[in-house]
């Protein structure tokens, strides 16, 4: 299990959010989540320009085992998606917190970020889940 980067915020449903230098919010799933899902084989990405709401399904990741909805941690507009995942969905297995990011949102209400778990709280959540 890789370290959880301290600059990330989390939904209980295992999505992470990172505020980039330009203020955009990058979103992916945690290393713990990719481990639970197993080998990923398909990612259904959102459309660029689509508007999203915090806590609503935006993308779908499918492993050999199961399909899972990916919720957006913040409301706003999709400004980029990780096209690389179309050919290499396994990037999420290999680098969930980095190259395996899924989409980028221009947040309409940055205040929503305050409702997310910080890295420590998330670490505790998955710790309890494992027992």
């Amino acid at each position: 299990m890789s370290e959880i980067p301290g600059d990330l915020k989390f939904l209980k449903s295992h999505e992470w959010a990172r505020v980039e230098d330009d203020g955009l919010v990058r979103v992916g799933i945690s290393d713990h989540a990719q481990g639970q899902l197993g080998d990923l084989v398909y990612v259904e990405l959102p459309e660029i320009g689509a508007s999203v709401q915090a806590g609503h399904g935006v993308a779908v990741v499918e492993s050999v085992k199961a399909a899972s909805d990916i919720y957006s941690p913040v409301s706003g507009e999709i400004v980029a998606v990780n096209e690389n995942l179309n050919d290499k969905p396994e990037t999420i297995n290999e680098d969930a917190f980095g190259d395996g990011w899924i989409f980028l949102v221009r947040a309409s209400d940055r205040g929503e970020l305050g409702e997310l778990l910080d890295a420590d709280a998330y670490a505790e959540l998955i710790e309890n889940e494992d027992h």
Binding site: G35, G38, D39, V41, E44, V60, E62, K65, A66
Partner: protein, 366 residues
């Protein structure tokens, strides 16, 4: 209460991700399900299948009992050690379970039935065995390891006592024999499997299973989880009980017609119902589907055909094909343009003959 096989600690020490499977705590993978799938197609992998139920039948009328119990004909078993794949049916022709019958002697047959149906199967077998004075004896003292892949047999044979090499090397497909393993452990070696590859399923006394597993690891056999086992058997066109057929589905409706022997005068349980169904015309059929687009076919998705809806039974991403395949049960007749409803989106699929993969290669038309 979850049950554990004798290899449970071994799986955990190997870093396996464990899941509940039919009441058993079993390894789904040891890291990557896809890599484990490929190693079985290309080299040799092994599965702990000790959760499966071994049942020994003894008595002078055992063959006669099996003629009544199962839908395939045990009279095909003429040579000691030969095995037969069959279903046992209820009176309505539904599948109680699918199983393998081994002929070990005129008064001794061995059954291997599914783990998830253990209690139901034992009750059913015992209920019908009484009339034939057949002794039904479960063998929880056995563990079982399936070693599968193009190099599986050679790797297993290398571990057997020298004197067994030639005999086990010549063991025919769907046949079994006793052999001596590492440290002289007594093994029951069957050339059967659930992956579409050559290999052995090995029954071993529980207290020697860990030593056998470790010897296999040392011989270069890679541990593989139930996740890979599922995608391998799906590609190989093999049914999974509970998903592809159950008590309410007949073998005709599960593409298992080839396992039904309507031999003259044999009164097996479910025969009347099967014959009536056939005379009436079977209303539902099981077909293979391939999705050429991106996405994954999954159990429970609705299949749309010209004759009405059907549903996906087993469905998954198929690692050997790098696309999704499935079994589906649909209304009989020319299905027309077939689509599958994936989360509200109607995706076109192709109906194909299966197996999807044989001997490590995609089959023609898949």
């Amino acid at each position: 209460m979850t049950e554990k096989t004798v290899l449970n600690d071994t799986h955990r020490a190997l870093g396996a991700r464990m899941v509940d499977f039919g009441g058993w705590d079993m390894p789904i993978n040891y890291g990557s399900q896809i890599e484990e799938h490929h190693v079985v197609r290309r080299d040799a992998g092994m599965f702990d299948v000790s959760h499966m139920t071994v049942v020994d039948l003894h008595g002078p009328r055992t063959r006669e009992f099996l003629r009544h119990l199962v839908a395939n004909s045990v009279d095909k078993l003429k040579v000691q050690g030969k095995a037969l794949y069959t279903c046992m049916l209820n009176e309505q022709g539904g599948v109680v379970d699918d199983l393998i019958v081994y002929f070990l002697g005129e008064e001794f047959f061995r059954l291997v039935v599914n783990a998830a149906t253990r209690a139901k199967d034992l009750a059913w077998i015992e209920q019908h065995a009484k009339a034939f004075d057949v002794q039904v004896k479960e063998r929880p003292d056995f563990a079982m390891i399936a070693v599968q892949g193009p190099n599986a047999r050679a790797k297993v044979i290398g571990l057997l006592a020298e004197v067994d090499h030639e005999r086990i090397g010549k063991l025919g497909k769907f046949a079994a024999a006793a052999a001596q393993g590492p440290h002289g452990m007594p093994l029951f070696v069957a050339r059967t499997g659930y992956t579409g590859e050559d290999g052995f399923e090995i029954v071993v006394p529980q207290d020697q299973a860990v030593a056998l597993w470790d010897a296999l690891v040392a011989a270069g056999v890679a541990p593989a989880g139930l996740g890979a086992r599922d995608t391998l058997r799906l590609e190989a066109g093999m049914n999974l009980y509970g998903q592809d057929m159950d008590d309410d589905v007949s073998p005709w409706e599960a593409n298992l017609g080839w396992t039904i022997a309507l031999d003259e005068g044999r009164d097996f349980i479910g025969r009347k119902a099967l014959e009536a169904q056939k005379a009436d015309g079977v209303k539902r059929v099981m077909v293979g589907l391939v999705l050429d687009d991106k996405g994954v076919l999954r159990h429970g998705q609705t299949v749309l055909t010209a004759n009405g809806p059907g549903e996906i039974l087993s469905g998954s991403f198929a690692p050997t094909l790098n696309k999704a395949v499935a079994f589906a049960r649909i209304p009989a007749g020319e299905p027309g343009e077939v689509r599958v409803d994936i989360r509200g989106r109607e995706v076109p699929v192709r109906v194909v003959k299966y197996p999807f993969v044989r001997d490590g290669k995609p089959c023609e038309g898949v």
